[in-house]
């Protein structure tokens, strides 16, 4: 399928950077444009990884909820059980995967602040959070003011 989504995103970045940006004289507008182009370039690389990230994260989050479950209050345990009993969404349905991710992470947010978790459970929390942060496909792309450094007087 040509141009592919990636081809189009990459081409849009190129046009913004090479054709549009040199004609933007206003320093504020140029800084905004640079930020948008850099973010679009990041998205071009990240987009293919998002669905897989969500699928893997749902599995890892469900596993962690299972590890924490024995130390949680009964009402939260029941909601976790209900969520985990639901069938997993279609592996390529990004919206369904994201909705499930939202639900599981909502339960995790409640679980990780509960009193009474043991040392091994805290280690499991830190491990999942660290690994998730490392695998997250979308990243903030810092850009400097144009022209750098910005003279503010």
């Amino acid at each position: 399928m040509k141009p592919s989504v990636e081809d189009q995103l990459r081409g849009t970045c190129r046009i913004l950077e090479n054709v549009v940006a040199p004609c933007v004289g206003d320093p504020f507008a140029r800084t905004i444009l640079d930020n948008l182009a850099a973010n679009l370039r990041m998205l071009t690389g990240a987009l293919p990884a998002v669905v897989r990230f969500l699928r893997d994260d749902n599995t890892a989050t469900a596993d962690l909820l299972g590890v924490l479950r024995p130390s949680l209050p009964a009402a939260l345990r029941a909601r976790i059980d209900a969520a985990l009993a639901e069938p997993a969404p279609d592996a390529v349905d990004g919206a369904a995967l994201e909705a499930r991710n939202d639900r599981l992470r909502g339960l995790l947010a409640e679980a990780v602040v509960c009193e009474g978790l043991g040392a091994e459970q805290h280690r499991a929390i830190v491990r999942l959070m660290s690994e998730r942060a490392a695998r997250m496909p979308m990243r903030y792309v810092p850009t400097v003011s144009h022209p750098p450094p910005a003279a503010r007087p």
Binding site: P27, F28, N35, G106, M129, Y140, P148, R152, P153
Partner: protein
């Protein structure tokens, strides 16, 4: 030029054209100086900097009962979307209180606290000499010059913390923390977090719980800048001419500013590798301030700094999604690992 705008017109205004800013400023001057006439402006331009507010440069002249005036001004106007939910009136009070204190800060002229004249809350101050460079400590200057500047930044921090806030009326303007300043700040930013979060953030909740369990006592209550960094200062040659961006200044623990600059996530801005790192910064602060600086308390403020930065980035995400903010930020997972590592190192 009519500028009789009602407060109802204020609010989430889009960035106005230059003429609207000039008209608003003229109306504000007429309000503040009833005898002002022959008001003129030149060189109005919105600068590229400013993540939380619009920064407008303008040269103003007018005649009033005191004679002819000419000033290089900077107008800081709340953007329709912002990283920081702050009040211009508080910032105005801080800048007024700093006049004559020895802390280099812009002289402040006027405030439009509710955006009656400028369409959004605004502050007008003197435009100071110097330039702003986030990376000035790791830029093109010689190592000797950069080290001298690094020491000057610490001396400036100590000077801010030494301001007699009670004598200068800042207790009334800012409010002193009722209990531990660490908990006051944690509560403040927790409220911000709850206001802006769009989706569950278990990492932020987990780290907040850790911070709450370990919140330290303060050695003193001082004026805290709250966003102390080279990017919020003007430097001319080897001299810091002004500390800027006082919108989140407050009364609190001096380790809050020290924790902000020794926070590993901001290392590239605040440290000079091999020469001016955490150990040297803390030693210089101890020497100049005479404060003890307990390492475990400082580590708490390092974690808090990253956590607060995470909340600020989540604010940007929420504002972007709402269509009010024009820069793209992401959920700050890059900070999560840094925070978790520091927590594991804590005694």
């Amino acid at each position: 030029m009519s500028a009789d705008r009602s407060p109802d017109d204020a609010g989430a205004a889009a960035a106005p054209p230059d003429a609207a800013v000039a008209a608003g400023l003229e109306a504000l001057i007429r309000q503040e100086i009833p005898s002002a006439r022959e008001i003129g402006f030149a060189g109005l331009v919105r600068s590229a900097g400013g993540l939380s507010r619009e920064n407008w440069r303008i040269d103003a002249t007018w005649v009033d009962a005191g004679g002819r005036h000419a000033h290089r001004l900077m107008l800081m106007r709340d953007a329709s979307g912002t990283l920081l939910n702050t009040e211009r009136a508080r910032e105005f009070a801080v800048l007024r209180a700093l006049e004559g204190s020895g802390v280099p800060a812009p002289r402040v002229f006027w405030v439009d606290p509710d955006g009656r004249w400028l369409g959004a809350p605004s502050l007008v101050m003197e435009r100071m000499p110097g330039s702003c460079d986030y990376m000035v400590l790791n830029g093109g200057r010689t190592l000797e010059e950069r080290l001298a500047l690094a020491r000057a930044f610490i001396a400036l921090m100590v000077a801010i913390h030494a301001v007699d806030w009670r004598a200068r009326g800042l207790g009334e303007a800012l409010g002193a923390p009722a209990g531990r300043p660490s908990l006051t700040e944690l509560d403040h930013w927790r409220d911000e977090y709850r206001r802006v979060r769009l989706e569950p953030q278990p990492e932020i909740d987990y780290i907040e719980a850790w911070l709450r369990r370990r919140a330290p006592e303060a050695e003193a209550v001082v004026l805290v800048h709250g966003d102390f960094k080279p990017g919020n200062a003007l430097v001319e040659d080897a001299r810091i001419t002004a500390k800027l961006d006082w919108e989140i200044a407050h009364l609190g623990d001096p380790l809050e500013d020290l924790g902000w600059i020794t926070n590993p996530a901001r290392r590239r801005e605040h440290q000079i590798p091999g020469h001016w790192e955490r150990r040297e910064i803390v030693a210089a602060y101890r020497e100049l301030s005479g404060r003890r600086v307990r390492e475990e308390d400082l580590l708490w403020w390092n974690v808090f700094s990253c956590w607060k930065l995470s909340v600020i980035q989540l604010t940007a995400v929420a504002e972007f999604v709402a269509g009010r903010y024009d820069r793209v930020f992401q959920t700050p997972f890059w900070l999560v690992r840094t925070m978790l590592q520091m927590m594991e190192e804590a005694p």
